[in-house]
Amino acid sequence: MRGALEAMTRGAGPALASTLGLLLLWQALAMATAGAWILASPLAVLDWAAERAGLLTRATAVTLGAAAQGFLWGNLAAMLLALVSVLVPRSERVLSALSLLAFCLPLVATGPILRVLYGPGTGPQVTLAALACCYTTHVALLVGLRAAPPGWLDLIRSYGRGRVTALLQVRAMAALPYLAAGLQIAAPAAILGAMVGEFTGAERGLGVLILRTLRGLDVAGTWAIGGIAAAAAIAAHAAVGALARRVTRAPPPVILAVAPPRPGRGPLARLAGAAGLILLVLALWWAAMEAAGLPAFFAKRPGDVWAYLATGPAAGLHRAQLLGALGQTLAIALPGYLAGLALGVGIAAALVLAPRVAGVAMPLAIALRSIPILATAPLIVLALGRGAAGGIAIVAAMIFFPTLVACLQGMRQTPAAVTDIFDSYGAPRLTRLIHAQAPAMLPAFFASARMAVPAAILAATTAEWLATGRGLGALMATVASTSDYGMLWSATALIASVAMLAWAGLARIERAVLARAAPEQLS
């Protein structure tokens, strides 16, 4: 308790400074965009909030309550998935694929199903918050559970103990910092997931209020709600960070490992594995909808999508429409993905090189991640327009945060023995960054690159819906309003397929790089 208090007071100085910096930036931006009806000044926002303190308190309690439940369930599921993956290594591919797919499902397709299943209440909000957390924490944990020196695992084996002992004694400890990063990534995602979940027909909450303020030209209200979401996310981020610092005492160890021999799977075996996975996913998709008795009108089965795209009337037209839209979406998603990764790594590096100067960056980054894009997109559109530049910027803004957190955490995993050597030679910070911290960061970087794959595609569809009006996002918005659920589920299946392909491609690159930089990850 006292330790936590000390930690808080120690952190109070920079925190105060960065909050002040953030407020000044906000005020300046509000003054610069006056007349555009998209950003209110901090004072106007405070005034608005003070007048409606009761309403805001109730809405915040509802939304944060749903977010907290989703955070709990989503992260528990992620831990379970990761544990099973480590204990039963053969299950890893399948579990990772399912976790990715659950993350890929767009809200336009899942929203109506969740609301019909749960009826009134917070069910959809909690589920969407959980789905927003699970995949990223799962990916981070998988990396963490492997970030242990092989010698330690050999030691366990030499005592005749098995995987469970290794998991409890070595892997769990090694995974803690990565789990912390995963939870820090998950916190704003859960809050946003709960708010967006309210778009499925909730009675109350911050998401309901922001819809009201957006349509009501209530700019101060929009940013008051965005400010609350951001403040909650920043607090959650800080709390997880403080907890992680208390729990992890030992400095990061030096991990020296050799790459294991490549698994001798021929192309045929790989093909069979992929086919098996696809069959499993299709079977689960069909069985889940059948078991819930969901009408095929809005819950299309794999067979319906196949008919829509391959055998039914106008299937060729449907395919052409879908592939054309996909091309437009990828033209935004791919540059947005790369820009988001670069932004995340760049800010992480800046924070390491100049921790004080960059103190404003982290709260700003969390704010960008937790304020609904509905509120921030108009700012980006104003600056960059509705063309490709605006779309790419929206994607980058929506996805850079996990990369930032993961890379920052990865750099902190630089073995103390290594940084000591650099320090003893008085090496400049940049040298240390390039030669020690960047290599140590690589496993975490690739984890974040995997997290960002589905996120970038979904972000691109959001950008298209909000700004550019092209591609899969615009197509899905249109067909959702005309009950064309055949197209909606076809688009969903396509998004999931593309995400899986990109993910598999990334895994190959990752394998090649980590074989040199962090072979323990390949075991």
């Binding site: 109506p112 109350r204 009501g216 689960l284 069985a287």
Partner: protein, 333 residues
Amino acid sequence: MPPFRLTRRSALALGGGLAAGLAAPFAAPRLQAQAARTAAMQLSWLHSVQFGGSYIALDRGYWAAEGLEVVLQPGGPNAPVEPPVVSGQALVGISAADYTAAAVEQGAPFRILAVAMQKNPFAIASLPANPVNTPADLAGKRIGMALANTPVLQALCSLNGVDVTAVEVVPTQYDAAPLLAGQVDCLLCWATDLPVAMAMQGVEAVTMLMADHGYAVHSQTYIATDASIAERRAELVALLKGEVRGWTDYKADPAAAAALTVRMFPDAGLDLPTQELQADRQVPLMFSDLTDANGFGWFTEETVAANIETLALLGRKVTPELWDRSLLEEAHG
């Protein structure tokens, strides 16, 4: 189509399959409202005075008098009306003729039972300095709208002989800010929301109602499935009776409806002056000589024929059988 029955076990199976067990721990699905005389009505948007007559019916016990308990389920951007009605989770949905026609084309067995908005609320809103007073004024203008509404603009233009390619469509969020900020010259929106928001901010927009220029699409329509009409007719009639009484009261005193709305939904973030203005502005859309003569929700062969014509321009082929007035006649009876 098999009746939609949701059990705890099936919900668990769905959670276990689709999301690898994610949804399972907190699955608390509501059983289908099948207890005697309970009915859910799926609204098309968040709670607001847009549904003021229904709130009056609830508040003054008009449904209770019929022995019916009605649950009003709010909508939202990702809460389409059709799925809960198809699944039976809601007995009635508040839709519009164009949405309903599209859903029927996709196999939904819907009928339109009553029409709350006689005039379609779609409008072109512009600023007085650069107004759109008639469809011809659209030529050369930048219009901000959701791209999903492109067929609506096309229909308006072809009804009025305007070249739609002369209008520059800018995809915007549903928000008046782009108009006030000068990013666009006009907006495609409902006459009862974004113009009201602008008026509350002191900007009186020019509002050209599309219904005044040939765009005849029944809006805020009550829809139900064929199965419900066959099996739950008495409940549907009772529900419509309450709606008729509620909306008749609404017409007599829209301000009271606004006050009730704000009081009934303290967490919805509504403010009274906005709700009062909206309540006033939707009166001329909902009540006409036709409803004065025949009562709330009425439609005739002529208004249906006009709808079929406009719907054809929107690419929807429908027949008069989409409309079924018999339940409303019983309700008025």
